[in-house]
């Protein structure tokens, strides 16, 4: 029907009449009682700082009831309740080692010292004077996916508890390379030792090469000051690398010729491999993806669904994401929307009509370097069963004939007793 014919029909009242005729019961029950209430009274006034709707209060981070302390440990971004690619700052996952410091920006200073020509101290205003850059990057805890180490798999797993230790923000700051040039790097320097202003005085070792490449000294997140739990007023953003090296509340950078081998790059954030060795400096986050709809503990009906999910890789841009609707036998290419940025979370979508039969759905991401996600078996051929970090095997969701969605991962043979029940240490977020 062309536009002219449609207008003619409308003019004759055909369409309008048909609509009314088709909706005889609308006034008796299909229109919610309160639907027009807000049109009869004045709404609330202007306000200086906005809040989300009171009806969205259940969209919150997941904090495990098993945590031994909320000063250390992690909580999860509620992935299956979010859309698009930006994680709202209030819902960005958290990981702290000594609580969240309350830093007064008037007292804030960043000092660069060690193997430099000129030790320098910067105020927050100083940092904001430098040329700035804004980039969208994901930050992911190395312990993201730790629930995948459980065997048998946790049948109450949600997308949040599977992969919610990742978040994606627009970060603004000064390239660290500019600050280092300002201080003047001395011959022989190879490493930076950044330190946080928290009660853990958290430190790590970062190769100078990476710092000169793309590391940001960030002071803004999603357009406003960084949230306290994300490092207010200043943090490191180390694109594509594990979150734990992206030191928050940054107060000091020591330039050195050796790494420090701090507690959080030796006793934690090192990886036990299948051959029994321990790997140090496993910095880059391998590709990952997670279907957020339909996902664990959700319920769906027959008919049309847009399968939605998130994918990201620390190696570079996501090139494609594939969906399997038959437990991994065949794979189809999902749509990436919006267009993917490098080292940012991307959103994938796939149109699907569910016929009501039990099935297992999966996703796997491929990055521009050709890396993809392993199966569970492939993953454990490389990493030990008692490792704690860098789990990036394909997550499966089983959809029952009743439409209920549960963890579809397999129980693996020859695995040790159930892991992950107590005392795993904070990074995985569950204890």
């Amino acid at each position: 029907m062309n536009r002219r014919k449609l207008l003619q029909l409308l003019g004759k009242g055909v369409a309008a009449g048909a609509f009314v005729k088709l909706s005889p019961g609308l006034a008796q029950g299909k229109i919610p009682q309160g639907a027009t209430d807000t049109m009869k009274i004045l709404g609330p006034t202007l306000r200086e700082y906005g809040e989300r709707s009171e009806f969205e209060k259940d969209v919150i981070r997941y904090i495990s009831p098993n945590l031994r302390s909320r000063h250390t440990g992690a909580d999860f971004a509620p992935l299956e309740k979010l859309e698009g690619i930006i994680t709202p700052s209030s819902l960005h996952f958290e990981r702290h080692h000594g609580g969240v410091p309350n830093v007064n920006p008037a007292d804030y200073r960043l000092v660069i010292h060690g193997m430099v020509e000129r030790p320098l101290m910067f105020t927050l205003q100083d940092l904001k004077r430098f040329p700035s850059v804004t980039r969208t990057y994901f930050i992911e805890c190395a312990g993201n996916g730790q629930n995948g180490y459980r065997n048998p798999p946790d049948m109450t797993l949600t997308a949040t508890r599977s992969r919610g230790l990742v978040s994606n923000s627009s970060w603004t700051g000064v390239p660290l390379s500019i600050l280092l040039k300002e201080a003047g790097i001395k011959e022989g320097a190879r490493w930076l030792i950044p330190e946080g202003q928290d009660a853990a005085a958290y430190t790590r070792s970062l190769p100078l090469d990476k710092a000169l490449d793309d590391v940001l000294v960030a002071y803004a997140q999603n357009g406003e000051a960084i949230r306290p739990e994300q490092g207010y007023p200043v943090r490191l953003v180390v694109p594509g690398w594990e979150g734990s090296i992206q030191v928050k509340w940054l107060r000091r950078i020591q330039v050195a010729d050796t790494p420090v081998m701090s507690k959080d790059e030796t006793s934690e954030y090192t990886d036990v491999m299948a051959d029994g060795k321990i790997w140090a400096f496993t910095w880059v986050m391998d590709p990952e993806s997670i279907i957020t709809y339909p996902s664990g503990l959700q319920q769906i009906q027959r008919g049309f669904h847009e399968i939605r999910g998130l994918a990201w890789s620390g190696h570079g841009r996501i090139r494609r994401v594939e969906i399997s609707l038959d437990g991994g036998k065949t794979w189809k290419r999902a749509n990436l929307e919006p267009a993917p940025d490098a080292l940012s979370v991307v959103r994938f979508k796939y149109n699907w009509v569910w016929d009501g039969k039990e099935t297992v759905i999966m996703s796997r991401a491929w990055d521009e370097k050709g890396n993809t996600q392993p199966t569970q078996e492939e993953f454990f051929a490389k990493w030990a069963r008692n490792n704690r970090y860098h789990y990036n095997a394909i997550q499966a969701w089983r959809i029952g004939a009743d439409g209920k969605v549960v963890n579809g991962d397999k129980t693996l043979a020859g695995a040790p007793a159930q892991l992950g029940v107590v005392g795993r240490g904070g990074c995985g977020g569950e204890s």
Binding site: A200, D209, R252, V260, S267, A280, W283
Partner: protein, 187 residues
């Protein structure tokens, strides 16, 4: 009009070229070494011992420090309590050991890390209250509990960097990291 904007742009460029003559923005305050030290209240201890302060502590002294400041969270002798265990077997770990049993004697790879972390971040709720002597002492006690050093061996800036941790034998650099940064060598 176009020409006017061209000259404005040109003079702006000339000005920034002047400011950046040394490739710098001249922002930030220079600090003396003294001022750096005042700011650096938790100096990093490198694996070769650089940064270790003067002072000393024995296992016996450390037992007292431990009982006062550490046992409440980590158990009477380091076996773990409300928080992480510090002592566990075997030395070093195997791939069968559950990660709840990763502890200092079987997983930590550098003794200097123990001094750095204890002085940096412990006790958990009141970091920074231990003297350097107390930190050396409690480090000695924990290493002794883990069977890494003898009861008679005091810990100080000379002895601590020489302590060999069993798990160091298991530690390797991630091969993909080595490929990207060929110059990295683990201490």
């Amino acid at each position: 009009m176009r020409r006017k904007w061209f000259y404005i742009a040109l003079s702006a460029l000339a000005l920034s070229a002047l400011v950046l003559a040394q490739g710098r923005y001249q922002i930030g305050s220079p600090l003396s070494e003294q001022e750096v030290q005042e700011w650096n209240i938790r100096p990093s201890i490198l694996a070769n011992g650089v940064g270790l302060p003067p002072g000393q502590g024995t296992v016996d002294e450390g037992a007292k420090v431990y009982a006062t400041h550490c046992a409440g969270c980590h158990g009477a002798t380091g076996e773990g309590g409300a928080f992480t265990r510090l002592v566990s077997e075997p030395f070093p770990i195997t791939k069968e050991v559950d990660s709840v049993d990763f502890a200092i004697g079987n997983y930590w790879q550098y003794a200097t890390t123990l001094f750095d972390y204890t002085r940096r971040a412990m006790p958990f709720a009141t970091p920074g209250i231990l003297s350097n002597d107390e930190v050396y002492a409690v480090v000695a006690y924990i290493l002794y509990q883990n069977g890494v050093i003898d009861e008679s061996e005091p810990m100080n800036a000379q002895t601590l960097p020489k302590v060999q941790m069993p798990a160091r034998a298991l530690l390797e650099l991630d091969p993909s990291t080595q490929k990207r940064f060929p110059w990295i060598k683990l201490p």
